[in-house]
């Protein structure tokens, strides 16, 4: 489309202004799909069973808002714990020490190999299984610190610790594989160059390998965060009963109107997912430093110039794609 490019400000005397190819097939397909979409939307709005007034009434209900808060807290805390564990597990997996490798392998095998629901039920029984947590030396009477798990649980909110741990440990196993793939994707020449400069192993990991691996790790991790957001709805297995799915369900049972409250829950999940997608694209841009810039012009902040560079485009396209995959997870 020649005329659109004139905004490029270039003086091209023989610029081409040609008519685009006429594609009747795509026109017809577009009309049909648009028609179906309008029909669906119209059906949803006019169908009394959706009870839109009830949706509006409960959208900002106190219990619902509270539920969103807890859902977010659960998602963020368990994800943070999972990320830290995953990096540890991935580094252990590549360690020269066979004990560390073995433990990492076992961890991933166990937490990936059993259903999350089962794990959550198990963690719910944690305080029955292990009534006190203590820090001491095994097989001796030395004990530095101890606490009843019941007490610890009450301190925050019943079931929260179990829910958070359950989600975090399960997630760490999946993330560990993502992190490992990211680490392995970094050119070994990078570590060699860093070694040749006299950098110690941990510094190479921290300053050279991990930052480059992040570029590969972030998109699938974004998927995992969105997936985690929705997995939090399973913590009723613990049971933990404050997150949004449980909250809306409780209201629905009280007023015998399941559908409008499902709509309320969906609405909020979509809002949070959208915010997460925006956050993800920021993070991707940050770790894409040095990869997204075009082949000319200095790196120092020319945000506008970046938009038209092909590399940046590819990164953006990716992010959209993976985020939608995440919705199916």
């Amino acid at each position: 489309m020649g005329h659109k490019n004139e905004s490029d400000g270039l003086d091209i005397p023989n610029r081409i202004h040609a008519r685009p190819v006429f594609r009747p097939g795509s026109l017809i397909a577009g009309v049909i799909v648009a028609f179906l979409a309008v029909m669906l939307g119209y059906g949803m709005i006019t169908n009394d069973n959706f009870d839109w007034p009830i949706v509006w009434k409960y959208l900002f209900n106190e219990h619902v808002l509270n539920g969103i808060g807890w859902t977010l807290v659960l998602t963020v805390t368990s994800m943070l714990i999972a990320i830290v564990l995953a990096v540890l597990l991935a580094v252990m997996r590549k360690s020269v020490n066979p004990v560390l490798r073995g433990v990492s392998w076992f961890w991933i095998w166990f937490f990936r190999g059993t259903p999350i629901y089962t794990q959550l039920v198990f963690w719910g029984l944690f305080s029955v299984l292990i009534p006190t947590i203590s820090l001491g030396i095994p097989f001796t009477h030395l004990n530095f610190w101890s606490m009843s798990t019941e007490q610890l649980n009450k301190f925050i909110s019943p079931g929260f610790l179990a829910a958070m741990l359950g989600l975090a440990l399960n997630e760490s196993a999946y993330l560990a594989e993502i992190v490992r793939a990211g680490l392995e994707a970094v050119d070994p020449g990078q570590s060699e160059a860093a070694e040749a400069l006299g950098m110690p192993r941990t510094m190479i990991m921290r300053r050279v390998v991990l930052p480059q691996a992040m570029r590969i790790i972030v998109p699938p991790t974004g998927n995992e965060v969105i997936s985690m957001l929705k997995t939090t709805s399973l913590v009723s297995a613990v049971p933990f009963s404050l997150e949004i799915q449980f909250a809306t369900n409780a209201i629905a049972n009280r007023i015998y109107k399941p559908i409008p409250l499902l709509m309320v829950a969906c609405f909020w999940y979509l809002v949070i997912t959208s915010i997460l997608m925006v956050a993800q694209s920021w993070i991707e841009r940050y770790f894409g430093k040095g990869f997204n810039e075009g082949s000319n012009g200095p790196a120092a902040g020319d945000g506008d110039a970046k938009e038209e560079k092909p590399a940046a485009k590819v990164a953006e396209g990716n992010e959209g794609g993976t985020a939608f995959l995440g919705l199916n997870a």
């Binding site: 060699e192 160059a193 110690p200 192993r201 040095g290 990869f291 075009g294 082949s295 012009g297 790196a299």
Partner: protein
């Protein structure tokens, strides 16, 4: 061309047998310690015997060019000097210091003790290495690449490191690209930055592993030009390359390797008067 104070300039052909006592040592004037001294170096990867008794002496301020067909073990030899690989047999001294190991007295017996990571990192600071594929850090700008090791390894204050980094970048003609990312540069420019990055740690010896082999032909000259200026400045260099012209003009010592042994070595004139059939054959293919 550099002056050749300590190198013999006679052509010397050596026997081709594996593990032979082979290469005659360069006559060393007692006052100077060799920058690199390899003695009967062997390297095996599993059952693959790659280096079969390499002897080499590189005097400070000289340029040694290693020639040889692909797979003859040239990269492996450089990587051994820089401890990116571990020796299977023999010894290498850098600046008079045994690398990778130290002698310890173990119950009255002299034994070799492997150095720990920190000691190895310290020994590496004497050596700068330039790779065929540049290996710049793509997530850091040109300036950050050059400052990385001085700031984080040598703990030089940032302002001072920046000043010195800019000097090194000027030296390789890349100062005006300080804020670019590596991927925004041509191969030749990237390699010049990689040279600056290695120089920033003030190494005593620079190792080059086919620094121009990944470059488009028109970009080879700018990198060789920078290397020539380093040679003129008296920096000790070991260069693996297929650039025969560069070897002839800049090399003080030429070493021809094939099949894991040094087949022939001597001054730059051996390029025009090779003795060994294998070297003759090699030169006829690359010239």
């Amino acid at each position: 061309m550099n002056d050749m104070t300590t190198n013999d300039s006679n052509t010397q052909a050596t026997t081709e047998q594996q593990g032979s006592e082979s290469v005659a040592q360069t006559p060393v004037d007692n006052a100077t310690v060799p920058a690199v001294k390899a003695t009967q170096v062997h390297k095996a990867f599993g059952s693959l015997h790659v280096l079969k008794g390499i002897d080499m002496t590189v005097m400070p301020g000289t340029v040694t060019v290693i020639l040889g067909p692909s797979g003859s073990g040239k990269s492996t030899f450089l990587r051994l000097i820089n401890q990116l690989e571990t020796l299977t047999g023999g010894s290498i001294e850098v600046d008079g210091e045994l690398i990778g190991y130290k002698h310890v007295n173990h119950g009255g017996k002299d034994e070799l003790q492997t150095l720990n990571d920190k000691e190895i990192a310290e020994q590496r600071e004497k050596l700068g290495m330039v790779f065929q594929r540049f290996n710049l850090f793509p997530h850091r700008t040109v300036l950050e690449n050059v400052m990385e090791a001085p700031v984080h390894v040598a703990k030089v204050p940032k302002a001072k490191a920046k000043e010195e980094a800019m000097k090194e970048l000027e030296r390789v003609g890349m100062a005006d690209r300080a804020d670019y990312y590596p991927m925004q540069l041509s191969g030749g420019q990237q390699q010049r930055v990689a040279i600056a990055r290695a120089l920033a740690m003030n190494p005593k010896i620079m190792l080059f592993d086919e620094p121009t082999s990944a470059l488009d032909p028109e970009l080879v000259g700018e990198v060789l030009g920078v290397m020539r200026s380093l040679a003129d400045a008296g920096i000790t260099m070991i260069v693996v390359t297929h650039e025969i012209g560069f070897a002839r003009e800049v090399g003080d010592q030429i070493v021809f390797m094939d099949g894991g042994v040094v087949v022939e070595h001597g001054g730059p004139e051996i390029i025009d008067h090779p003795q060994e059939p294998r070297f003759k054959d090699f030169l006829s293919h690359v010239l």
